[in-house]
Protein backbone atom coordinates (compact mmCIF):
# COMPACT_ATOMS: atom_id res chain seq x y z
CA UNK A 1 0.00 0.00 0.00
CA UNK A 2 1.41 3.35 -0.97
CA UNK A 3 0.00 5.54 1.76
CA UNK A 4 1.38 8.96 2.58
CA UNK A 5 2.85 9.28 6.05
CA UNK A 6 4.73 6.69 8.06
CA UNK A 7 5.26 3.25 6.56
CA UNK A 8 3.34 0.22 7.76
CA UNK A 9 6.55 -1.12 9.28
CA UNK A 10 7.12 1.99 11.40
CA UNK A 11 3.49 1.97 12.55
CA UNK A 12 3.86 -1.66 13.57
CA UNK A 13 7.05 -0.80 15.46
CA UNK A 14 5.26 2.01 17.34
CA UNK A 15 2.28 -0.19 18.13
CA UNK A 16 4.53 -2.94 19.47
CA UNK A 17 7.10 -0.85 21.36
CA UNK A 18 4.87 1.83 22.85
CA UNK A 19 1.47 0.15 22.71
CA UNK A 20 0.47 3.06 20.48
CA UNK A 21 -3.24 2.57 19.78
CA UNK A 22 -3.28 5.43 17.27
CA UNK A 23 -0.55 3.73 15.24
CA UNK A 24 -2.53 0.50 15.20
CA UNK A 25 -5.68 2.43 14.34
CA UNK A 26 -3.91 3.89 11.32
CA UNK A 27 -2.96 0.38 10.19
CA UNK A 28 -6.61 -0.68 10.51
CA UNK A 29 -7.77 2.36 8.54
CA UNK A 30 -5.29 1.59 5.75
CA UNK A 31 -6.12 -2.08 5.42
CA UNK A 32 -9.77 -2.35 6.43
CA UNK A 33 -11.13 -2.14 2.89
CA UNK A 34 -8.85 -4.88 1.53
CA UNK A 35 -9.45 -7.22 4.46
CA UNK A 36 -13.23 -6.68 4.49
CA UNK A 37 -13.35 -7.25 0.72
CA UNK A 38 -11.33 -10.45 1.06
CA UNK A 39 -13.66 -11.73 3.76
CA UNK A 40 -16.80 -10.72 1.88
CA UNK A 41 -15.60 -12.81 -1.01
CA UNK A 42 -14.76 -15.72 1.27
CA UNK A 43 -18.20 -15.35 2.88
CA UNK A 44 -19.87 -15.09 -0.55
CA UNK A 45 -21.24 -11.61 0.06
CA UNK A 46 -22.44 -12.04 3.65
CA UNK A 47 -21.32 -8.55 4.69
CA UNK A 48 -22.29 -8.79 8.37
CA UNK A 49 -20.42 -12.07 8.88
CA UNK A 50 -17.45 -10.74 6.92
CA UNK A 51 -17.23 -7.57 9.02
CA UNK A 52 -17.39 -9.58 12.25
CA UNK A 53 -14.53 -11.70 10.95
CA UNK A 54 -12.65 -8.58 9.87
CA UNK A 55 -12.88 -7.18 13.38
CA UNK A 56 -11.69 -10.49 14.81
CA UNK A 57 -8.85 -10.47 12.27
CA UNK A 58 -7.57 -7.09 13.46
CA UNK A 59 -7.90 -8.05 17.11
CA UNK A 60 -5.91 -11.22 16.45
CA UNK A 61 -3.37 -9.21 14.50
CA UNK A 62 -3.01 -6.84 17.46
CA UNK A 63 -2.38 -9.75 19.82
CA UNK A 64 0.20 -11.27 17.47
CA UNK A 65 1.79 -8.04 16.31
CA UNK A 66 5.01 -8.83 18.16
CA UNK A 67 5.38 -11.93 15.99
CA UNK A 68 5.38 -9.88 12.78
CA UNK A 69 9.00 -9.93 11.65
CA UNK A 70 8.65 -7.79 8.57
CA UNK A 71 9.77 -10.61 6.28
CA UNK A 72 6.56 -10.20 4.26
CA UNK A 73 4.58 -7.03 3.61
CA UNK A 74 2.26 -6.18 6.48
CA UNK A 75 -0.72 -6.48 4.12
CA UNK A 76 0.30 -10.00 3.16
CA UNK A 77 0.70 -10.98 6.80
CA UNK A 78 -2.73 -9.51 7.52
CA UNK A 79 -4.27 -11.56 4.69
CA UNK A 80 -2.82 -14.67 6.32
CA UNK A 81 -4.35 -13.72 9.68
CA UNK A 82 -7.70 -13.08 7.94
CA UNK A 83 -7.60 -16.46 6.21
CA UNK A 84 -6.81 -18.25 9.49
CA UNK A 85 -9.61 -16.36 11.22
CA UNK A 86 -12.02 -17.35 8.46
CA UNK A 87 -10.90 -21.00 8.69
CA UNK A 88 -11.34 -21.11 12.48
CA UNK A 89 -14.86 -19.75 12.19
CA UNK A 90 -15.76 -21.95 9.21
CA UNK A 91 -14.76 -25.07 11.18
CA UNK A 92 -17.18 -24.10 13.95
CA UNK A 93 -20.07 -23.48 11.57
CA UNK A 94 -22.45 -26.24 10.58
CA UNK A 95 -21.58 -27.54 7.10
CA UNK A 96 -23.35 -26.02 4.12
CA UNK A 97 -25.54 -28.13 1.86
CA UNK A 98 -23.96 -31.17 0.24
CA UNK A 99 -22.14 -30.75 -3.04
CA UNK A 100 -19.91 -27.86 -2.08
CA UNK A 101 -21.53 -25.43 -4.49
CA UNK A 102 -24.09 -23.12 -3.03
CA UNK A 103 -26.32 -20.53 -4.52
CA UNK A 104 -25.71 -16.95 -3.40
CA UNK A 105 -27.76 -15.86 -0.42
CA UNK A 106 -31.19 -14.78 -1.62
CA UNK A 107 -31.40 -10.99 -1.49
CA UNK A 108 -34.26 -9.17 0.10
CA UNK A 109 -36.21 -6.55 -1.82
CA UNK A 110 -39.63 -5.63 -3.11
CA UNK A 111 -39.16 -7.39 -6.44
CA UNK A 112 -37.51 -10.78 -5.88
CA UNK A 113 -36.71 -11.32 -9.57
CA UNK A 114 -35.04 -7.94 -9.96
CA UNK A 115 -33.24 -8.22 -6.65
CA UNK A 116 -31.95 -11.65 -7.62
CA UNK A 117 -30.63 -10.31 -10.91
CA UNK A 118 -28.88 -7.43 -9.10
CA UNK A 119 -27.37 -9.81 -6.60
CA UNK A 120 -26.03 -12.02 -9.35
CA UNK A 121 -24.23 -9.01 -10.76
CA UNK A 122 -22.57 -8.37 -7.42
CA UNK A 123 -19.18 -9.99 -7.57
CA UNK A 124 -18.85 -10.77 -3.88
CA UNK A 125 -22.19 -12.55 -3.91
CA UNK A 126 -21.28 -14.30 -7.14
CA UNK A 127 -18.49 -16.01 -5.20
CA UNK A 128 -21.27 -18.11 -3.72
CA UNK A 129 -21.42 -20.22 -6.89
CA UNK A 130 -17.81 -21.32 -6.37
CA UNK A 131 -16.47 -24.26 -4.44
CA UNK A 132 -14.69 -23.25 -1.23
CA UNK A 133 -11.25 -23.95 -2.72
CA UNK A 134 -11.97 -21.79 -5.77
CA UNK A 135 -13.36 -19.02 -3.59
CA UNK A 136 -10.28 -19.05 -1.34
CA UNK A 137 -7.88 -19.13 -4.28
CA UNK A 138 -9.50 -16.23 -6.12
CA UNK A 139 -10.11 -14.11 -3.01
CA UNK A 140 -6.52 -14.43 -1.81
CA UNK A 141 -4.75 -14.12 -5.15
CA UNK A 142 -6.62 -10.97 -6.14
CA UNK A 143 -6.63 -9.63 -2.59
CA UNK A 144 -2.84 -9.90 -2.47
CA UNK A 145 -2.56 -8.49 -5.97
CA UNK A 146 -4.37 -5.41 -4.72
CA UNK A 147 -1.70 -4.88 -2.05
CA UNK A 148 0.85 -3.93 -4.69
CA UNK A 149 0.94 -5.01 -8.32
CA UNK A 150 3.88 -7.34 -9.00
CA UNK A 151 6.50 -6.61 -11.66
CA UNK A 152 5.49 -7.76 -15.15
CA UNK A 153 5.91 -11.46 -15.68
CA UNK A 154 5.92 -12.33 -11.96
CA UNK A 155 3.04 -13.98 -10.16
CA UNK A 156 4.07 -13.03 -6.64
CA UNK A 157 0.48 -12.98 -5.43
CA UNK A 158 0.01 -16.57 -6.63
CA UNK A 159 3.09 -17.68 -4.71
CA UNK A 160 2.00 -15.83 -1.56
CA UNK A 161 -1.54 -17.20 -1.80
CA UNK A 162 -0.22 -20.75 -2.31
CA UNK A 163 1.99 -20.34 0.76
CA UNK A 164 -0.90 -19.04 2.87
CA UNK A 165 -3.21 -21.85 1.78
CA UNK A 166 -0.49 -24.49 2.00
CA UNK A 167 -1.12 -25.70 -1.54
CA UNK A 168 1.27 -26.38 -4.41
CA UNK A 169 1.39 -23.50 -6.88
CA UNK A 170 -0.10 -25.67 -9.65
CA UNK A 171 -3.11 -26.58 -7.50
CA UNK A 172 -3.72 -22.94 -6.72
CA UNK A 173 -3.56 -21.96 -10.39
CA UNK A 174 -6.02 -24.72 -11.29
CA UNK A 175 -8.53 -23.46 -8.72
CA UNK A 176 -8.05 -19.86 -9.89
CA UNK A 177 -8.66 -20.82 -13.52
CA UNK A 178 -11.74 -22.92 -12.72
CA UNK A 179 -13.13 -20.28 -10.40
CA UNK A 180 -12.72 -17.52 -12.96
CA UNK A 181 -14.42 -19.62 -15.62
CA UNK A 182 -17.37 -20.31 -13.31
CA UNK A 183 -17.65 -16.64 -12.39
CA UNK A 184 -17.51 -15.64 -16.04
CA UNK A 185 -20.27 -18.07 -16.97
CA UNK A 186 -22.38 -17.00 -13.99
CA UNK A 187 -22.01 -13.26 -14.60
CA UNK A 188 -22.54 -13.67 -18.35
CA UNK A 189 -25.74 -15.58 -17.65
CA UNK A 190 -26.85 -12.84 -15.29
CA UNK A 191 -26.22 -10.07 -17.79
CA UNK A 192 -28.08 -11.97 -20.52
CA UNK A 193 -31.00 -12.54 -18.16
CA UNK A 194 -31.26 -8.83 -17.38
CA UNK A 195 -30.87 -7.57 -20.96
Amino acid sequence: MNEPGPSDASLVARAVADGDRHAFGELVRRHQSAIRTLLRRLCAGDAARADDLAQETFLRAHRKLGAFRGEARFGTWLHRVAWNTFLSEARRRPPAGAGGETEPAPPSGPDPALARAEARLDLARAFGVLREEERAALALVYGLLGQSPPPPGQDLSHQEAAAILGWPLGTLKTHVARGKEKLRRHLLGASEATS
Partner: protein, 110 residues
Protein backbone atom coordinates in the same frame (compact mmCIF):
# COMPACT_ATOMS: atom_id res chain seq x y z
CA UNK B 1 -15.83 6.06 -13.35
CA UNK B 2 -12.75 7.42 -15.02
CA UNK B 3 -10.45 4.65 -13.84
CA UNK B 4 -8.27 3.13 -16.52
CA UNK B 5 -8.49 -0.59 -16.99
CA UNK B 6 -5.10 -2.29 -16.63
CA UNK B 7 -6.77 -5.58 -17.57
CA UNK B 8 -8.53 -6.02 -20.90
CA UNK B 9 -10.84 -8.53 -19.21
CA UNK B 10 -13.59 -6.80 -17.16
CA UNK B 11 -13.80 -9.78 -14.78
CA UNK B 12 -10.05 -9.62 -14.08
CA UNK B 13 -10.35 -5.89 -13.54
CA UNK B 14 -13.28 -6.26 -11.15
CA UNK B 15 -11.46 -8.97 -9.21
CA UNK B 16 -8.22 -7.00 -8.92
CA UNK B 17 -9.84 -3.61 -8.26
CA UNK B 18 -12.81 -4.02 -5.93
CA UNK B 19 -14.67 -0.91 -4.89
CA UNK B 20 -13.08 0.73 -1.84
CA UNK B 21 -15.19 0.05 1.25
CA UNK B 22 -15.74 3.18 3.31
CA UNK B 23 -14.53 2.87 6.86
CA UNK B 24 -17.93 3.84 8.30
CA UNK B 25 -16.72 3.66 11.90
CA UNK B 26 -15.05 0.25 11.45
CA UNK B 27 -11.61 1.46 12.60
CA UNK B 28 -13.02 3.15 15.68
CA UNK B 29 -14.91 -0.02 16.55
CA UNK B 30 -11.73 -2.11 16.31
CA UNK B 31 -9.66 0.36 18.34
CA UNK B 32 -12.35 0.47 21.03
CA UNK B 33 -12.26 -3.31 21.25
CA UNK B 34 -8.48 -3.43 21.81
CA UNK B 35 -7.39 -4.47 25.30
CA UNK B 36 -6.32 -1.48 27.35
CA UNK B 37 -2.81 -1.19 28.69
CA UNK B 38 -2.18 -4.87 28.29
CA UNK B 39 1.57 -4.35 28.63
CA UNK B 40 1.15 -2.50 31.93
CA UNK B 41 -1.13 -5.25 33.15
CA UNK B 42 1.37 -7.94 32.18
CA UNK B 43 4.14 -6.06 33.98
CA UNK B 44 2.07 -5.67 37.13
CA UNK B 45 1.01 -9.29 37.09
CA UNK B 46 4.61 -10.38 36.62
CA UNK B 47 5.77 -8.10 39.44
CA UNK B 48 2.96 -9.35 41.63
CA UNK B 49 3.92 -12.92 40.83
CA UNK B 50 7.54 -12.35 41.80
CA UNK B 51 6.54 -10.51 44.99
CA UNK B 52 4.14 -13.26 45.98
CA UNK B 53 6.75 -15.93 45.32
CA UNK B 54 9.26 -13.98 47.39
CA UNK B 55 6.74 -13.53 50.17
CA UNK B 56 5.92 -17.23 50.19
CA UNK B 57 9.63 -17.99 50.44
CA UNK B 58 10.06 -15.66 53.38
CA UNK B 59 7.05 -17.10 55.19
CA UNK B 60 8.57 -20.52 54.86
CA UNK B 61 12.07 -19.35 55.74
CA UNK B 62 11.04 -17.05 58.64
CA UNK B 63 10.68 -19.73 61.33
CA UNK B 64 14.03 -21.20 60.33
CA UNK B 65 15.98 -17.97 60.77
CA UNK B 66 16.06 -18.04 64.63
CA UNK B 67 17.22 -21.63 64.45
CA UNK B 68 19.99 -20.74 62.02
CA UNK B 69 21.04 -17.80 64.18
CA UNK B 70 21.00 -19.94 67.29
CA UNK B 71 23.09 -22.60 65.65
CA UNK B 72 25.61 -20.11 64.30
CA UNK B 73 26.05 -18.07 67.51
CA UNK B 74 25.44 -20.81 70.01
CA UNK B 75 22.96 -18.72 72.03
CA UNK B 76 19.31 -17.83 71.76
CA UNK B 77 18.62 -14.16 70.86
CA UNK B 78 15.47 -12.43 69.71
CA UNK B 79 15.62 -12.53 65.93
CA UNK B 80 14.95 -9.12 64.40
CA UNK B 81 15.49 -10.52 60.92
CA UNK B 82 12.77 -13.14 61.44
CA UNK B 83 10.31 -10.48 62.57
CA UNK B 84 11.16 -8.30 59.57
CA UNK B 85 10.79 -11.21 57.19
CA UNK B 86 7.36 -12.10 58.56
CA UNK B 87 6.21 -8.48 58.36
CA UNK B 88 7.38 -8.18 54.74
CA UNK B 89 5.72 -11.47 53.87
CA UNK B 90 2.41 -10.12 55.14
CA UNK B 91 2.73 -6.70 53.51
CA UNK B 92 4.05 -7.61 50.04
CA UNK B 93 0.85 -9.07 48.53
CA UNK B 94 -1.21 -6.21 49.94
CA UNK B 95 1.16 -3.60 48.47
CA UNK B 96 1.10 -5.35 45.10
CA UNK B 97 -2.69 -5.33 45.04
CA UNK B 98 -2.83 -1.63 45.89
CA UNK B 99 -0.30 -0.77 43.15
CA UNK B 100 -2.21 -2.87 40.62
CA UNK B 101 -5.53 -1.24 41.39
CA UNK B 102 -4.08 2.28 41.26
CA UNK B 103 -2.38 1.63 37.92
CA UNK B 104 -5.12 -0.33 36.20
CA UNK B 105 -8.45 0.53 37.68
CA UNK B 106 -10.76 -2.42 38.22
CA UNK B 107 -9.50 -5.52 36.46
CA UNK B 108 -11.39 -6.61 33.37
CA UNK B 109 -11.92 -3.19 31.84
CA UNK B 110 -10.97 -4.35 28.33
Amino acid sequence: MSRTLPYPDPLEDALAHPAHLNDGGFTAQVVDALPRRSRARALILATGGFASAGAAGLVLAGPLLPLVETMSSGRMVPSVSALAATLFALMAPLATAVIALRAEGPLGDA
